[in-house]
Symmetry: C2
Subunit: 416 residues, 2 copies
């Protein structure tokens, strides 16, 4: 932890000076680690979110706990190199083929947790309740691997997950498609009893809204509000297609909305109302979600740049507020409210950004943050510290060969 | 030049194997090199394209031929590192303070041309006619530095620019704001007589359309068509806000539209109708324009990703067509139709992309191009050859320290 923050103090003897711009570590508030394996493998055909999902499911089918451990370790390594010090892993791939639980029903979750620990990343395992293949529809063969018998079984399983210094546990309602309102209430109560973060995919696609309105006469946000989900511990993922009343519900509760701009571009979701949400009092966080790319600078600026495309106005979100979404507000959304800031008492999770790369050259003290947020890339991250320990030095992970591990772990789950 | 392209041939003794994915060199079909200096310096206030332009003008005021030479050399170095082997420099900053011509009236253009030669980049100096500060409005103090006395004076000056093995000269009508229809016709005739490329900024902002309709009763594309501009040598820059008739004019002529997606995001221009343009028969090219970032992979995927945001459909532009925009069609648009392809007789302008970085790891032979276009960054470019000579090796320029030159050149034109 940081024991003092003193501007302009002389460096004590033997201190290591962090070159470039030092920022708080980033929180990647929404991740499905295994989806990194399909990067570049879903671009060949004209398609929709729903056909993309079939390709993603085919990859999920090839994953078991050992493979997931190796894949997540490599993906978390890529995150570390990008300046991410804490990940919220929205975890729904729980069970074995055809939905048969593993001997340890949390084998998958524990594989992910140990992968993060080995790389040096903090993690919140956001264990996700998933029961149905759609409103009133049984899960298909792949979805059975996501599904617990009912919400009580989900809660019982999740109570078997152990937190630690570097791991916390949160809850998710996958979506109003996959969790009925009565089950949602069980998840809400589980999270409330533990003061745990509660996440849900919300209104990513217009079809979800239409199905929800047809089934319940309410929007997804309305259904979740009715189940008691929407509090200041709640994070709506995406929230791309909201009604005005949804904005008010999220804002009045002081909830968080986690946008995943590079995934929302990739999946043709559309542009969410980030500026309007912030105006209502909602907090914003950021996630790399499907990992089409892993670059928190790109996510941060995409939030503002896509708002510019939608509104034709520059400057709804300045660099400081984009950084806050990528750091403090993201950490708070995944249950680490003490992290993501440079201040006394906060964990010493720090990232340095090279201000002398070809992308950042020309930055001065006044505009360094603007240059980092609007022009740096993950390749400009030089050093990353978690809890005061160096995890990345000079752009290399201190203990694993990330690119080599990515290549071999992806081969295991994609080659035929 | 490439003398043979033979798949699967054994390497001759002493040959150098280019690791990774080898692609044709990229053409950056629309650049204002000096605007690199304001990267990260225009993000602090809520603003519009027009207030951004004031900040850009303030930078332009600090530039003279020597400073522009140093700045362009560094910016072209950044382009080289990003895999760009040919740049179309849309050049309008011609004259000294208050519009007084330099002793050599092409001092600025020649400074830019020699900067490209020193870095090893091919260049088309697209010399730009600029006469008015708006329809019927005199140029202001800064704009006088852009302006020639009239179109005949522009043509006389531009005839003084010498082409070479690595430099060609093209023409531009800055916009219908800055060039009246009679003057546009002079530029059109100059380009037609020389079979030179002809470019114009077209419909980047709704205000331009409104002013043009009010003055001429036609859209900017309509005014340009009326002046005879729209042929297969014409490139419309941006073309964000087009009417249906504009699309037909551009498509039927087999003209090119150069989109600059990262700039169009940055300047809140909006999303242009790239898919609809291609459907009418128009060609697409790409430019980094204001250099908010310089990354042709990001430009290429942004074309498709922003189309996804606008249409909610994936796959209007596949990786091969995005690559063609970044290479062959971009080269053709700036007057190098023989370049930008890997085939016998083409200049040996080649770029290798690392397929073993954390961004690209997991690529295989089938999806390597998809991974490069949708997930690589400029930082993944390893080697760049122009005319068979190595310009970039292992991610470093062979003769200049690009980042250091950027920092010092930018300091000269921004520090107070």
């Amino acid at each position: 932890r940081m024991i003092a923050v003193t501007p302009g103090a002389p460096a004590p003897g033997g201190a290591e000076r962090l070159a470039g711009l030092t920022l708080p570590g980033c929180a990647n508030a929404h991740s499905h680690a295994f989806q990194r394996a399909i990067r570049g493998r879903t671009q060949r055909i004209s398609s929709s979110f729903w056909t993309w999902r079939e390709q993603m499911y085919a990859c999920a089918e090839r994953i078991d706990p050992d493979r997931y451990h190796r894949l997540a370790r490599a993906v978390f390594g890529e995150m570390a190199l990008a300046g991410i010090t804490c990940v919220g892993e929205f975890h729904y791939l729980h069970h074995g083929p055809n939905g048969r639980p593993y001997a340890d029903p949390n084998a998958m979750g524990e594989a992910i947790i140990s992968a993060a620990a080995e790389v040096g990343l903090r993690i919140t395992l956001i264990d996700t309740c998933y029961l149905h293949g759609g409103v009133g529809i049984e899960p298909d063969a792949t979805q059975r691997r996501f599904a617990d018998r009912d919400a009580a079984a989900w809660a019982e399983r999740v109570d078997g997950l152990a937190a630690s210094d570097v791991c916390r546990v949160g809850a998710a309602i996958h979506s109003v498609r996959a969790v009925d309102p009565a089950a949602a209430r069980v998840v809400v109560e589980w999270a409330a009893a533990r003061r745990a973060p509660l996440h849900a995919h919300v209104s990513e696609q217009p079809a979800e809204n239409e199905q929800c309105l047809a089934a319940y006469g309410m929007t997804p946000t309305g259904v979740l509000a009715d189940a008691g989900a929407i509090t200041d511990r709640f994070t709506a993922i995406h929230a791309t297609h909201l009604a005005a009343a949804d904005l008010a519900l999220l804002g009045q509760a002081g909830a968080t909305v986690c946008l995943c701009p590079t995934t929302e571009r990739d999946l043709a979701d559309g542009i969410g109302p980030a500026g309007a949400l912030r105006a209502t009092g909602a907090h914003l966080a950021l996630g790399s979600d499907s990992h089409a790319v892993i670059d928190m600078f790109e996510e941060a600026r995409a939030l503002e740049l896509d708002e510019r495309l939608a509104t034709h106005v520059r400057g709804t979100h300045d660099a400081a507020s984009l950084l806050r979404a990528a750091t403090a507000d993201g950490h708070a959304a995944i249950g680490w409210p003490e992290a993501g800031s440079i201040r006394r008492g906060a964990p010493a999770d720090l990232v340095t950004v090279d201000l002398g790369s070809v992308r950042t050259a020309g930055a001065d003290a006044v505009n360094a943050l603007d240059v980092a947020v609007f022009a740096a890339s993950a390749a400009d991250v030089r050093h990353v510290l978690v809890g005061g320990r160096v995890m990345v030095r000079d752009g290399r992970h201190v203990s694993i060969d990330v690119a080599a591990e990515l290549a071999s772990a992806i081969r295991e789950v994609t080659s035929t």
